[in-house]
Symmetry: C2
Subunit: 207 residues, 2 copies
């Protein structure tokens, strides 16, 4: 199982500092949606240039203009680009077309989708690399939130999936047991006193 | 009815040129989602600085981190910020909180939402300014597309709404007759040989 670090920050400089500290321990460096909207795709270029050996994930959460948005993100250096599962199939197909042109991949983020396993099967058939079983930051803050549903949805989907929704060192083993291809950690790394130690701890919890 | 110009371009410089040509004839200058992702929120600041008398709409299409994304867009100079109708209520409420703090407004973009009138009522009750009955660029390119459904959905919603989906000088009268508060035009303006003339023609078609 790969470890993806979601860098939820707002400036390219902050992202570069987080990436430098965590890179030795993670496989995928993710530029969060607010970071990309705030700083633009030059942030993707900066992170990829600093870490050419890492998979760089641009969390665009595309809802429309699938081919165009994916194209500019791949051109900026992204290896993986996200499209929303609630987007129309033509948007997802457009993004997949851009990915094929660049030899890169599209990830469909299932945040906000009611029946995640069903939509997961549909979008993998459209050519996406894998789906993200994702509870967003706002959903995580809601009372009674638990991400066990995400793991069940991933298992039920029968397709390659990642899991994102507040994963910590004490829960990452359960994510691995669910068969996830990728575990996405954000706050558990960037919110820790020592980003490198936190990333190494998560890595060590993957067997 | 107000006229909104959706600037679907990719650089701040191109947006400033489009805005300069169209501004005398439109009420709202919209920075499209790919533009914001490509150039960052500094594009919003640049357009607002050049046109302080215009309403500047940042088409963020927020799906998560509602308060944060709206906050940084308002801080950058936006007067209106969009959140997706398929986002959770907590995301929309977070964005509305940021809007109230700044004395600005949230628009919910209903792209991809199956029952637009029902969701429109729900989100206006959450405190959003108005909803956008929206067929995206990808949906417009699908065979058999017509935006008459958007007008019927707007009328059925009973709440303030805008319409976006390939509006031209020959269809804008029907949009006005549906009771729309705002008509959003993109390609009909930026795709015209003379951007200023195209914007003026649309404006003249509003009675």
């Amino acid at each position: 199982m790969k470890l993806q670090f979601a860098m939820d920050t707002l400036t390219t400089q902050a992202a570069l500092e987080l990436a430098a500290a965590a890179a030795p321990h993670v496989d995928i460096l993710e530029l969060g949606t607010p970071l990309i909207k705030s700083a633009g795709l030059s942030a993707v270029t900066a992170v990829k240039s600093a870490h050419p050996d890492k998979i760089v994930f641009a969390d665009l959460k595309t809802m429309d203009a699938g081919e165009l948005e994916a194209e500019i993100a791949f051109a900026a250096g992204a290896d993986l680009v996200s499209v929303l599962g609630s987007a129309g199939d033509s948007t997802i197909l457009g993004a997949v077309k851009a990915a094929k042109k660049h030899g890169k991949g599209i990830v469909v983020d299932l945040i906000g989708v009611a029946d995640k396993p069903a939509r997961a099967k549909e979008v993998v058939a459209l050519g996406v690399e894998f789906v993200e079983m994702h509870a967003g930051l706002d959903e995580q803050a809601e009372e009674g939130f638990t991400f066990s549903t995400l793991l069940r949805d991933g298992e039920a989907s029968g397709v390659p999936f990642s899991v994102a929704g507040g994963i910590t060192a004490s829960t990452i083993a359960a994510v691995q047991q669910s068969g996830a291809r990728v575990a996405v950690a954000g706050g558990a790394i960037y919110g820790a006193p020592d980003v490198g130690v936190a990333a190494a701890t998560l890595r060590a919890a993957i067997v």
